[in-house]
Symmetry: C2
Subunit: 366 residues, 2 copies
């Protein structure tokens, strides 16, 4: 019988989303929320928000107590939502959106695609660092920490008021957690917490209520919030993560060990010749593991050191290795990004191919 | 053990979305798709697309054979994606986005929120219908058919090249299906097909490949596609709908009967006095039911007929009935929209309150 599959006794269980303004007079029936646009708290599951806050407290990677939380379809969706929310409503000149190279390419791609009248992409921070314009105009600076592609912890370079801290990788499997992050605007992503990229779930922690209200409005108008099916799945995942934390199934312990080993093996192979170098990440004290920890980045930021190897991604491609060319991150083509967050089989294949290309010691493949 | 919950043997199963460009060299492992950004076909489940096409063929409400399909987080997300895709890339003047009043408010709200440089909201079609500008400038016309709020079938008023047909309500529970829709750009919504509004799923049928490519690009950059959890749920729903179609569990038959009865009861009560009137919808031949069918709209578009009842939503509110004021649809405040797609309990309550307000015959409540 179809209606059982639909979870409720009536397939006409639609409730327009504007009914939230009159929730007092709405008759709430058991099962109603499962299909309606609404949850108890607009588009945001109260239970999921509570568990996300508990996760941040348990991991110690973000101060959540004095922040609002808003969900997005991945932190991808929240990138433009925050640019929109931090831009002035009626400015004579649009806000300038910037990032420090090498940076995650989507900041630029999304700002340019939406091409809003209130903001515009203005390139990399090194262009602006000594400019007097920074103190007189509206700037929105993206800071990715740990950084994608190089895994380093960063702070704002321009010191402007509106900074979007992308902390997608600020979890103990990818990085030391020296202290909980406590910036005004912070992004986190389900895809980097548990690996469920295709569920499309991310969240923002926002201190200022006006910024939060604008982001919520954006989410309503863009997609009327995030899929409830996704919210339910993420809730289950976070419950399991919290339940296993500190025990044998600790996802952060597992991920840290796996990536630490991968990083160590890759470094060892690269050290066999002077053809390539990798970013330097130092061991650091981690409050989650209560000890000094080795690096375990998600990506290797590979540099080709031979003079003739001007296109490092091409050098690796000819060795059968797929990477992301440095120019995509607005860096030199001498750099390229290798992903370490693959299946074990894929990673073993990568190592074998790296051994081959490193062993061509002194011989350029171009 | 946590890893079992994650469906795969390795929580580091992340695969960057740009890997699709090099799918041939990627090692695909069983279970991999469940977490990765990717499906076999970018962000779109091949199996779900196949079932959506089968549903359109079985219902006979859209010609899908010569169209591309793209998914969105509700057809909500696709509204701006299509405005973006139909706008010129490098025009000296932005495209003019218009709709015929009364229209679904989100077209205007979304176009204004994104405030892109390539398009701008230019109001209702009646302002433009005799203007020579229409033939020389880029216009994008929204046509909602059946219309929200009044349930009437519509065609383009301006006859421009770029028309977005929103067919969210073009299903046999809400409307007669005189013939399959065959426009170049058509929107459909899971929330109106099966009622699963909170799953946030919609789709567009698009004839032109260039428009399709731009929408796909928008979806990637906005949210990297639609949640796979949602896609899996919608796939299950469509399988059940198809399986029950024509039998005792036919959702369209059930919905049609329920809404036809609601519409009949509401009309009867309204007819007791001359205080209110409703939109006129005529019986029409429906190819799905192979017979003339009575009206069964999702909404009643109520007009207050008494001279002093200038704010019809207020009149109803004072009688304890929540509706949406006509001005939200850019119509007169003498109109207001009543939702008929409620629980049976809610609808019975609505009828009781309507009986009371209609019985105050000749007496204004203001």
């Amino acid at each position: 019988m179809l209606l059982l599959v639909l979870d409720v006794g009536d397939p006409l269980f639609l409730e327009p989303y504007w009914m939230r303004h009159s929730a007092k007079s709405a008759v709430v029936v058991s099962g109603w929320h499962r299909m309606s646009y609404l949850t108890n708290n607009g588009f945001i599951s109260v239970e999921l928000e509570r568990h996300i806050r508990a996760l941040h407290r348990a991991v110690g990677n973000a101060v959540e107590e004095d922040k609002f939380i808003v969900f997005g379809s991945g932190c991808t969706q929240l990138i433009n939502a925050l640019v929109y929310a931090l831009s002035p409503d009626n400015a004579t000149t649009p806000a300038s959106v910037v990032a420090t190279a090498p940076y995650y390419p989507l900041y630029k791609a999304q700002t340019n695609l939406f091409d809003g009248r209130e903001y515009e992409w203005k390139g990399i921070t090194s262009k602006w660092i000594n400019s007097s314009v920074v103190s007189t105009k509206n700037f929105i600076e993206f800071v990715t920490s740990p950084n994608n592609p190089d895994g380093l912890l960063h702070k704002s370079v321009l010191g402007v008021k509106s900074v979007i801290y992308d902390h997608a990788y600020y979890w103990p499997h990818f990085s030391a957690i020296p202290a909980p992050a406590d910036e005004d605007v912070m992004l986190f992503s389900g895809s980097k917490t548990s690996g469920h990229a295709s569920s499309r779930f991310g969240w923002a922690l926002i201190k200022d209520e006006k910024v939060y209200d604008k982001v919520v409005q954006y989410m309503k108008v863009n997609t009327m919030g995030v899929s409830r099916d996704t919210q339910l799945r993420v809730l289950k995942l976070i419950k399991v993560i919290l339940g296993e934390m500190g025990g044998g199934g600790d996802i952060f312990e597992f991920g840290y060990k796996a990536l630490k080993n991968r990083w160590r093996k890759l470094n060892e192979i690269v050290s066999w010749s002077n053809r390539f170098s990798l970013q330097q990440i130092d061991p650091q004290y981690c409050t989650y593991f209560s000890k000094m920890r080795d690096p375990s980045p998600a990506y290797a930021w590979v540099k080709c050191e031979f003079e003739e190897d001007v296109d490092c991604a091409k050098v690796l491609k000819e060795a059968g290795i797929i990477s992301r060319r440095g120019t995509l991150f607005e860096a030199s083509s001498r750099y390229t990004r290798l992903s370490l967050i693959k299946t074990e089989d894929d990673f073993d294949l990568l190592l074998r191919k790296m051994v081959a290309v490193v062993s061509e010691n002194g011989v350029s493949s171009i």
